[in-house]
């Protein structure tokens, strides 16, 4: 409760400083609209539905690409950890492509897939899958060998050892890989939406882009606030349960 109050007070004072800066007239009102104007934009956009539609379009793209990235990356990471030849081939590719900022996939995706949903999907997938492969492989290879030995003496072998020992034992790495993949996917999707107009639907990136074109600073800032809020919410909703579990079982610091 106390933490909540402190947080609320903090954000209230941020708004206050913002309002004070606007009133002081340091910057032109076109460049820095007051919190009230931004709030009005958000309220209007929420009422006419454009904000919800854009958020929905963006989140749909994000989840499609992100979940596919995890579903592909997790088993590929396990296989990479298991087979040396995959580590020397796919592992290197993953390591290399993971260092490539995923925005760099946008031009290629456009040429390959045109201004389509597929291009968006591809960019998000590329942002997720390599981190997931690297994190899973890294996690499995960091599992103390004694776990597998102990499991072996209890009759575990083959697939059972992989699913019931190596995978759960590498969970701390896997979850941080999922978080990193999420961050990459989110960033690359926003970049792609700002660059590329896809006729299939207008996402938050497009709203941001049109805000700039129309010189509507309240729209730019308002959409940024929404993007931040979605990022925070996803972090809490998607990863907090996992992290709480890890913290409880492993006893790591929260």
């Amino acid at each position: 409760m106390k933490r909540l109050i402190i947080a609320l007070l903090f954000f209230a004072s941020l708004l206050f400083v913002w309002e004070a800066l606007v009133r002081a007239g340091v910057w032109s009102a076109v460049l820095l609209p007051s919190p009230a104007i931004v709030a009005r934009y958000l309220a209007d956009a929420a009422l006419d539905g454009s904000l919800w539609d854009a958020s929905l379009v963006t989140l749909r793209r994000l989840f499609a690409g992100y979940l596919t990235g995890i579903v592909l990356g997790l088993p590929l990471g396990l296989l990479t950890a298991r087979f040396r030849f995959l580590r020397d081939t796919l592992g290197l590719v993953a390591l290399g492509l993971q260092t490539l900022p995923s925005v760099c996939w946008v031009p290629l995706a456009l040429l390959w897939f045109g201004q389509s949903e597929t291009a968006m999907f591809f960019v998000v997938l590329m942002g997720t899958v390599w981190s997931m492969i690297i994190a899973t492989e890294n996690g499995v290879r960091n599992v103390p060998p004694i776990y597998a030995r102990a499991a072996l003496t209890m009759g575990s072998k083959g697939l059972h050892t992989w699913l019931r020992v190596l995978l759960p034992a590498s969970l701390p790495f896997v979850v941080s890989g999922m978080k990193q993949g999420w961050a990459f996917a989110w960033r690359s999707l926003m970049a792609a939406e700002i660059y590329v107009t896809v006729l299939g639907g207008f996402g938050l990136g497009h709203l941001l882009h049109y805000g700039r074109e129309l010189n509507a600073m309240e729209q730019v800032i308002g959409v940024m606030v929404v993007i931040i809020a979605i990022g925070l919410l996803a972090d809490k909703a998607l990863f907090s349960p996992w992290e709480r579990f890890l913290h409880k079982r492993w006893g790591t610091a929260s």
Partner: protein, 269 residues
Amino acid sequence: MTLDTELLNPPPAKLSVRDVSKRFVSGAREIHALDHVSLEIGEGEFVCLVGPSGCGKSTLLNIIAGLERTDGGDVSAEGAAISAPGRERMMMFQESALFPWLDVLGNVLFGLHLKPGLTKTERVAVARHYLKLVGLEKFERANVHELSGGMKQRVALARALAPNPRVLLMDEPFGALDALTREQLYGDLQRIWAERRKTIVFVTHNVREAVCLGDRVVLFSPHPGRIREEFVIDLPRPRDINSVELARYSTRITAALKNHTAHNEEPSE
């Protein structure tokens, strides 16, 4: 009904190690871990393998467990050659090797899940039975990191006992514990052994511990790993590690150990 049969003691197994040799390559050096080692262990016997590091005692234990292969000679349990790990031979390690992603009960259940023919309720009942045996029935929902070192080894013991093996292999299980906790566990292990009648092979470099626990103490010397001498410990049980009779045995065995090790190190040049 099945639960009662499940909890019955199976007859402990006889182990036979014949002429076993094992070499490791570590970097450029070759380590001769075991050199023509032979050892017979009777049903329900408690045998302690003692020796300095590198004498091959843990290697022999791993071979009996089926975790490692021999380079020569054979190892059998009840006449059947050992080539892979088996549920009738359970192992305990120096580190507890408990799984941090499972709670205490989950850890004890792990091996039971791999044992066919048990229903879920039976598995949980069996796991609880062994947690009670090691005195941790109140901690079944605890997480591994919340346990002390001694409690972890108790859970590891319960986990090893739960599938009801005929042989228990223990690799310096109390090595990392403080003296007081160790002494408690000596008492518990002797009580459990008396109750459950397992054949136990126990590796340690603590001579007193070996004398306190073992029917027989087998002395190893390193480079190459060989059995040097065996001592039958003829003391009544339960034994107290601080008793004078026990100290007398361990003085003798320690002297023998020093003798073999020193003797062994000189001519190696």
